[in-house]
């Protein structure tokens, strides 16, 4: 994947860049808003990572300029400003996701991958989601595994749906908190682990094969693959 990173902090930028390259991505770096806007306009990227507070041109202005010029490349804002209103400002300016510093590198990776898949038609229009022998009927709100009806509470259903809509993708705890509970703060990430445990008891425990997998240091993913 070709990624543009606009970040003024040299150490931070280098670390992200190295990490992404290690994951097999191609990364272009810009240290200020002017260079960043130039690269974003001239080159073609699959994802852009833009710091909000950068010299010369502010991150939000870059995003607004790109969007007003018809550039639809998925953009992730990387920001030190953690308040919800700042997040709203970023998303309103045209960004697709917002990640606050400090963050786990796995979180950044998971979000970049999720953004890159936005181009792929999602399963939104589908009436059911299927992962291996696990089937979720979105109309009747029934979940069956191997034909056995599984009784889920409302939030458990939403959490499973959130994961099943991202098959084989790492879903971080923060992504779950935001996507399922709409909590844009960190109440203590081990709380999510307890929710996943509850879900596992119903989805995986009675069956031979576990579908919900822990991705160490990153989060979870649901996959029928071994």
């Amino acid at each position: 994947m070709k990624i543009l990173l606009i970040e003024d902090d040299r150490n931070h930028a280098q670390f992200i860049c190295d990490g992404l390259v290690q994951q097999g991505h191609v990364v272009d770096q810009a240290k200020d808003g002017l260079d960043g806007l130039f690269l974003a306009t001239e080159e073609k990227y699959e994802v852009m990572i833009i710091d909000r507070m950068i010299p010369k041109i502010d991150g939000l202005s870059i995003i607004q300029t790109l969007r007003s010029n018809g550039n639809a490349t998925p953009i992730l804002i990387l920001s030190s400003l953690a308040k919800v209103e700042e997040r709203i400002k970023g998303l309103k300016a045209g960004a697709d996701d917002y990640l606050t510093k400090p963050f786990e590198f796995s979180e950044l990776l998971a979000r970049i991958e999720a953004l890159a898949r936005r181009g792929v038609p999602e399963q939104l229009a589908q009436t059911s989601l299927i992962i291996g022998d696990l089937e979720m009927n979105l109309l009747t709100r029934e979940v069956r595994r191997d034909g056995v009806l599984i009784d889920l509470q409302s939030k458990e259903f939403q959490l499973l749906e959130f994961m099943m809509r991202r098959p084989d993708q790492v879903v971080t705890r923060t992504m779950m908190l935001e996507g399922v509970w709409d909590f844009h703060f960190n109440p203590g990430t081990n709380l999510i682990d307890a929710q996943i445990s509850k879900l596992r008891i119903k989805i995986d425990k009675p069956f031979a094969k576990a579908l919900i997998k822990t991705v160490k240091g990153a989060g979870y993913k649901i996959s029928a693959k071994n």
């Binding site: 902090d9 209103e85 109440p187 307890a194």
Partner: protein, 476 residues
């Protein structure tokens, strides 16, 4: 009823009453003085008249004594005066030995009705048996010869005058009432018109519109001057707040970016397979410390945000019961692990609330976390949400929400119960558990932000954290 009681408590009403009272007192004083002076002047006139007649007759009596005239002269003079005078209100009675001359049938003074001290006195006199008693102002003159003279004047005119003045006084009171009521209404309306400008401005500013300016009508009066001063002060405050916001953004940037780098580096190092287990553990502990620092920073930012009371633009309608349920739900597995009994009393139906959902959620997490942390194994936690709308606490605040987190942990010493809401305060019980002493200060700030309050009460044993909120109608 509360509207009426609010009206009675209002400055407008009290000011109106004050103005009315002052005006009424002034007008009444003037009227009463006028009344008293008019009556007193009439009395003075009558007394002069009485004195003049008494003097005339006395001079005649004196001459009569000197010349040894017959007493009939003075009596004759009395008869002449009465005859000549057309004044029907004048009464004279001259007594020489047993002979009475005058227009009163009998000597009216007895030992009982004779005043000892005063020269003039009022006396009820029966002029003749067929007439009703008359009230006279009377003067008695005694002569050396033993004769005596009574000069009286009927007070009927003064009585009439008194009645007229009294009626006029009542009319004046009514008129004064009407005038003062009207004047106070005009003054109050004038004050209210100006106060409304300031109140609207306050509501805008509280609502987060820090750039709002009070309208100036350029009349140059005190209100205009006050508005100009307040506008200048607001502009200055806005500059300060903007500067602080910019500074905190800069601080956030300068702190979070290096912390982020530090965390990423440490995390990368911790994944090095050549590291010993103990070293890895130490690195992970440092990462946890960084997370704690960031969490503390986030809490401080949230407290400042809630205390600034200026972000109501982010308010949204949400089901507060569902939010509470979601938060509690996170803890249920851990509560079960600790064998804690959890009692939930949250209505199943939606309870709409307008506020900052993120801040409220954070506050619930903090209270739930405290309850979980401080409750011993096998203890009890109760969480309840009550809508007190049916209690009608106050009719102008028709419904309120009360959320209670009760545990049977160690509780909080009454001596420090007020301090635990302060930033960075940590009681003895919490000193050895993770945290930074900001949890309850955030809850308190969030409650205040939503026009509510946080009360910490003993639960015998344990702690009861009570959050009270008005419904969204009060979020002005």
């Amino acid at each position: 009823m509360p509207k009426i009681s609010a009206f009675f408590k209002s400055f407008s009403f009290r000011n109106g009453v004050f103005i009315f009272a002052v005006l009424l007192a002034t007008l009444l004083t003037v009227r009463v003085l006028m009344y008293e002076q008019t009556v007193a002047a009439s009395y003075r006139g009558i007394k002069l008249l009485i004195d003049a007649h008494a003097l005339e007759i006395s001079e005649e009596e004196e001459q009569q004594q000197q010349r040894r005239y017959h007493a009939a002269n003075a009596a004759g003079l009395v008869a002449n005066i009465l005859e000549d005078s057309n004044d029907r209100n004048l009464y004279l009675l001259y007594q020489h030995r047993d002979q009475l001359t005058g227009n009163i049938e009998s000597w009216p003074i007895t030992a009982e009705n004779l005043p000892l001290q005063s020269e003039y006195f009022e006396l009820s006199v029966i002029i003749n048996p067929h007439k009703t008693p008359r009230t006279l102002l009377v003067k008695i003159v005694r002569y050396h010869s033993g004769d005596r003279l009574l000069v009286g004047y009927d007070l009927e005119r003064i009585m009439l005058l008194r009645q007229t003045l009294y009626r006029s006084l009542i009319e004046n009171i009514v008129l004064s009432f009407a005038i003062s009521l009207m004047m106070s209404w005009v003054i109050v309306a004038f004050l209210n018109r100006h106060l409304r400008r300031f109140n609207i401005a306050c509501e805008h500013i509280r609502g987060g519109d820090l750039g709002y300016k009070i309208a100036i009508d350029h009349s140059g009066d005190e209100f205009d001057k006050l508005a100009q001063n307040i506008n200048q002060m607001l502009a200055w405050n806005k500059t300060l707040i903007d500067t602080i916001a910019e500074s905190s953004n800069a601080i956030a940037h300068d702190m979070r970016t290096p912390l982020s780098f530090l965390r990423l580096e440490l995390m990368a190092i911790s994944e090095d397979i050549s590291l010993t287990a103990s070293l890895k553990e130490r690195i992970l502990a440092q990462i946890e410390r960084i997370d704690l620092l960031v969490e503390m920073f986030d809490h401080l930012i949230n407290i400042s945000k809630a205390e600034s009371l200026s972000t109501t633009g982010l308010f949204e309608d949400f089901d507060i019961g569902l939010l509470l349920h979601d938060v509690v739900d996170f803890y249920l597995p851990m509560i079960a692990d600790k064998q804690i009994e959890c009692h939930l009393d949250i209505p199943a139906r939606p309870i709409n609330f307008r506020g900052d959902r993120q801040l409220m959620g954070q506050a619930f997490f903090n209270l739930m976390d405290n309850a979980y942390k401080y409750t011993h194994i096998g203890g009890d936690i109760s969480i309840s949400l009550n809508e007190q709308g049916n209690l009608q606490l106050r009719e102008d605040k028709p419904a309120a929400i009360q959320i209670v987190f009760a545990d049977n942990g160690p509780g909080i010493d009454e001596k420090i119960v007020d301090k635990v809401k302060n930033r960075f305060f940590r009681g003895d019980a919490s000193r050895h558990s993770p945290g930074h002493g900001l949890g309850l200060s955030l809850v308190n700030a969030v409650a205040t932000f939503h026009h509510g309050n946080l009360r910490l009460e003993p639960n015998h044993p344990g702690l009861k954290a009570v959050l009270n909120f008005p419904l969204h109608g009060d979020l002005k």
